[in-house]
């Protein structure tokens, strides 16, 4: 029976209330532990296609008659276009159309960040359209940009109101402390740099529009495009079968989709608008920089009495001020916590969600601060965390489940290695081990729907308008359906990536795809299974008759099971937890830092595909290593113009930078959460990596690194500071 309910929905740490229709979520969870198919490693269903280059990405699409668009973007962080003449571009060979600021909402004469779209052209070839771009006559009045986050806060140039949160009495907590540690941490701007750049191919078919787009949310694109073009939703079809990376930056249609749509309309041809690598490094979003001024007070036994922080998110021109204070508010049992968070509005490209926005940055600050405290108190960092473990939620509803202590327990053998690791230090190369904890959301939620179709050949197809953004959800959904139906994995195919085929499915962001979609797929498979059991009963077959035999009489008829994601447990918050232990080496004469090993233990409920899960952990850690050691988007300090727009200047980690990675999952189903007890794992693995590395550096050298990335200059500065301190006779960790 369908039920109409009102429930709370969380994405990337932001909550909203939604109405939804759900089917009864009556299935009992499977017992814990590996099943026939769920909980056992499965290679990706589409792995061979991807490896052979047969998988067709948006970037591979070549539709008949397709034109290529190019976008004129502001080279200045703040400028006014005083003159714009598209005629010379239109006169060039192969050029079909050009549009300017008065012709599309996404184009503007007022440029408030580098990369803001001003005009666009389309031509038969990409080379022709890029040549046409250079022919456009454009004059700018260049204005002074606002670039400094602290100055923006002082001037009141903010995105949203400052967020002040206090529980208990922070001042009293500080007064009760035996020791207080204060430190300022800074994190840099990092770029998603998806291998497949942001792009769309748009084609008008009658009064409908088809949008092929590299996206994390085909249904959201459908709604946003319909809204933007003034069309009913069912006149917009969105297709994304394969996706080359998004990491949070591909949730919305953005300027390029609307540019392609407008040019396609004008030319009556399909139009591709693909960002170049330089545009990807400029106009595709970023993880914003932060400044974190943090304080911790503790008793001499390590009990936290006060945590405080002023957080400045250097958001850019638009976006939102993410929850950088989240880890400080949520991770530890501390009665007195006070945070204030500012979102600085700057003439820099807008941030976008980037794999656990806010929590990656905030965990670096908080967990590095905790280790500075541990050093000052001469306490074992793991013991300090255990002493302040919060059995109950620090605020609001209770945890649906929490196994962080189990994560700590499983991390012990990795943590114990520190004696042996340190012993391998030499005069110039110091080695050490550090750890950091992780807290994040990842419970997913409704609405999400799926169908499971079973044919007379006994094969099943999962049909849903979700997307696989490269995380392997296609495979995980097939595993769930195969498990519930009791058929081999190879007998299940998954039809996804097309808003015109299959029911509504949720966004692939906020570590939500598996916990949102998995229960709907299981419910749909169970619905099909029940129908098949009824048929078996009517055919008077024994209950153990294989599914294929039961349905073999159906010929062309099919069984269709429908499933919906039920609500999250009321009065509970669903969170993920974990810990990482990093082993690093530091060349104390050259400032070189390299990571030798990272062990990760995460608690995300039931694991559907252990192989896919370990891939997620490895990917998160590798991206975290880049964030920690080498990646940084730089801009010219005077003009604010971006300097690192190519992959030689913006330094992603290479395979040579990847250490040994040991991933472990607690794999205890969350008994309160859905018919699976599964949470998401997309974001948790990147959260503690930076702090674990920074803490390992302290363990190795006694130096407090407080800024990301930990370049040679930051490492050498921290080493100098530590040496100064030693000279003055103070122990490590003391300011």
């Amino acid at each position: 029976m369908a039920r109409l309910i009102r429930t709370e929905k969380e994405v990337e740490g932001r909550y909203e209330e939604v109405w939804l229709v759900v089917e009864e979520d009556a299935l009992e969870q499977w017992p814990a532990g590996p099943r026939e198919i769920v909980g056992r490693p499965a290679i990706r269903l589409d792995g061979v296609e991807r490896a052979r280059g047969q998988a067709v990405y948006t970037a591979d699409l070549k539709l008949p008659g397709m034109l290529h668009a190019a976008v004129l973007r502001s080279p200045y962080p703040r400028a006014r276009v005083t003159k714009l003449d598209l005629a010379p571009a239109l006169a060039l060979p192969g050029v079909h159309a050009a549009i300017g600021p008065d012709e599309l909402e996404q184009l503007s004469n007022d440029c408030e960040y580098e990369g803001a779209a001003i005009a666009a052209v389309c031509a038969d070839t990409l080379a022709q359209s890029r040549t046409a771009l250079r022919a456009i006559i454009v004059d700018y009045e260049v204005l002074d940009p606002l670039l400094d986050p602290d100055e923006a806060v002082a001037r009141g140039a903010l995105l949203g109101e400052p967020r002040a949160r206090e529980r208990g009495d922070y001042q009293r907590g500080l007064a009760e402390a035996d020791v207080v540690v204060e430190a300022e941490y800074r994190t840099q701007v990092v770029l998603h740099n998806s291998m497949e750049t942001h792009q769309s191919v748009v084609e008008w078919v009658g009064d409908s529009v088809e949008v092929h787009i590299s996206t994390q949310y085909i249904w959201g694109i459908r709604d946003a495009v319909a809204d933007g073009l003034g069309l009913p939703g069912d006149k917009v079809r969105v297709i994304c079968h394969y996706m080359g990376g998004g990491f949070g930056s591909k949730n919305s249609p953005d300027d390029y989709t609307f540019i392609a749509a407008e040019l396609a309309k004008r030319t009556a041809r399909p139009v591709k608008c693909a960002l170049t690598r330089r545009e990807e490094n400029t106009a595709a979003g970023n993880r914003n920089a932060t400044i974190q001024r943090l304080t911790v007070g503790a008793r001499s036994d390590g009990t936290l009495t006060a945590l405080g922080g002023e957080f400045v998110n250097a958001v850019g021109w638009s976006g939102w001020s993410s929850s950088t204070e989240g880890p400080m508010q949520m991770l530890y049992a501390c009665d007195n916590v006070k945070t204030t968070t500012y979102g600085a509005k700057l003439n820099l490209p807008p941030m976008k969600a980037f794999r656990a926005p806010g929590f990656v940055e905030g965990t670096f600050g908080l967990e590095a601060l905790l280790d500075e405290l541990a050093a000052k108190l001469d306490l074992d960092p793991l013991e300090l965390r255990r002493r302040n473990h919060s059995e109950h939620a620090t605020e609001g509803a209770e945890y649906s489940d929490k196994n962080l202590l189990e994560c700590y327990r499983r991390a012990e053998p990795h943590w114990e290695r520190r004696h042996e690791v340190r012993a391998r230090s030499t005069e110039t190369v110091k080695r050490g081990v550090g750890m950091a904890s992780q807290i994040w959301y990842g419970g997913g939620g409704p609405p999400s729907y799926a169908w499971v179709r079973v044919g007379s050949d006994g094969r099943a197809t999962v049909v849903t308008a979700m997307q696989d953004i490269g995380t392997g959800t296609r495979t995980a959904m097939a595993q769930i359906a195969a498990e519930e139906l009791g058929i081999p994995l190879e007998d299940v195919t998954v039809s996804l990536g097309d808003s015109a085929r299959g029911p509504f499915a949720s966004i692939s962001a906020g570590s939500s795809t598996t916990p949102s979609m998995g229960p709907a797929v299981r419910a749909a498979a169970a619905d099909a299974r029940r129908q098949i059991e009824e048929i078996a009963g009517q055919r008077e077959l024994s209950p153990n008759t294989p599914l294929a035999e039961v349905v073999s009489v159906l010929e062309d008829a099919q069984i269709l099971g429908k499933g919906a994601r039920g609500p999250n447990p009321t009065g509970m918050q669903v969170l993920t937890f974990g810990v990482q232990v990093a082993e690093v080496a530091v060349d104390v004469q050259t400032g070189e830092v390299w990571v030798e090993r990272i062990a990760a233990v995460h608690d995300v409920g039931r694991v559907i595909n252990p192989l896919g899960a370990s891939s997620q952990i490895e990917g998160g850690i590798i991206q975290g290593i880049g964030h920690t050691l080498s990646e940084e988007r730089l801009h010219d300090p005077k003009t604010g113009r971006l300097l690192t727009t190519t992959l030689d200047a913006y330094k992603l980690p290479t395979i040579a930078d990847v250490p040994e990675i040991v991933s472990e999952l607690v794999d205890i189903p969350d008994a309160h959460l859905t018919n699976l007890g599964s949470k998401g794992l997309g974001e948790p693995p990147i959260i503690p990596t930076a702090a674990a590395i920074a803490n390992a550096i302290r363990d190795a050298t006694g130096a407090d690194v407080r800024q990301l990335p930990i370049t040679r200059e930051e490492m050498l500065r921290a080493l100098r500071e530590a040496k100064e301190r030693e000279r003055h006779g103070a122990p490590a960790g003391v300011d």
């Binding site: 080498s630 300097l643 690192t644 290479t654 040679r712 200059e713």
Partner: protein, 272 residues
């Protein structure tokens, strides 16, 4: 744009193209304009014969040839990525342009004929610590530093010169960083044997990174030559010590890194 194939090394008219790992990106970025590209792979020697090395040899060929002195082999091995080393040639590597982001983004800087060095007062953590008063760009070639330390001789289609003479510091009258004339091609290099040579490189990541600083050192009898990559607008022969460096506020760390690498390189030369 047309592509021609050179039939003789005598007079190449147009922009020479060999591995293309530098020319093609520069063309795409609009930093180099050319009506004619001339494929010179048929006329530039590629073989390695003792100390004589064809300028068309790829870095990949050099890095695994036991006849090549260790500093040069190691400089090749630590340069770029395997794919780039498979295409990029020795001479092309010597003639590559700076990675200065202002220059690469076509800011009207002194190297581009303008009247300002934007890096000096701007973002310069990757920039020069020597000879950086006029232009703070850093020369990125690992290979050039190795050949400078090894005191290689360059044979072009017109003349013979020492490697140091291939480069010049840009100044107000002439912004070029090499002395190569239009139409002049590097054909071969003579690399005299050394008793011992090494190349040490500091990078922002383990691989595929231009040098923060690269240190090449070669010992021949009592003479030791040390050359730096990533330290000046051209490959830099270290006369005195690092004390004479003139770092900018944001790249003093390079002096510290270079000092350590020079000490380690010298120590490595003297290990029996």
């Amino acid at each position: 744009m047309e592509l021609l194939r050179a039939s003789t090394s005598d007079d190449v008219e147009g922009t020479p193209l060999a591995g293309g790992t530098e020319v093609v990106p520069l063309l795409r970025a609009g930093l180099l304009t050319a009506d004619t590209l001339v494929d010179i792979r048929g006329v530039v020697p590629r073989g390695i014969d003792g100390g004589r090395i064809g300028a068309g040899a790829t870095l990949a060929e050099l890095e695994c040839d036991p006849e090549v002195p260790e500093a040069l082999r190691e400089a090749c091995r630590l340069a770029a990525s395997p794919q780039l080393r498979g295409m990029g040639t020795l001479a092309g590597n010597l003639l590559q342009a700076t990675r200065c982001w202002y220059w690469r983004l076509d800011w009207p800087c002194r190297l581009h004929g303008g009247d300002e060095c934007f890096a000096r007062d701007g973002e310069h953590r990757e920039h020069a610590i020597f000879a950086n008063g006029y232009c703070a760009s850093a020369h990125p070639s690992d290979v050039a530093a190795a050949l400078l330390a090894l005191d290689a001789t360059v044979h072009t289609n017109r003349r013979e010169l020492r490697l140091a003479e291939l480069y010049r510091l840009p100044d107000e009258a002439d912004r070029r960083t090499t002395t190569l004339e239009p139409g002049e091609l590097i054909l071969e290099l003579d690399v005299p044997p050394a008793d011992r040579s090494v190349y040490l490189k500091a990078m922002d990541r383990k691989r595929w990174s231009f040098p923060i600083v690269g240190v090449a050192a070669a010992r021949r009898c009592d003479e030791t030559r040390i050359a730096l990559a990533g330290a000046a607008p051209i490959p830099w022969l270290l006369a005195g010590g690092l004390e004479s460096a003139t770092p900018l506020p944001g790249n003093a760390y390079k002096v510290e890194v270079a000092t350590t690498l020079v000490n380690r390189a010298v120590a490595a030369l003297n290990v029996v």
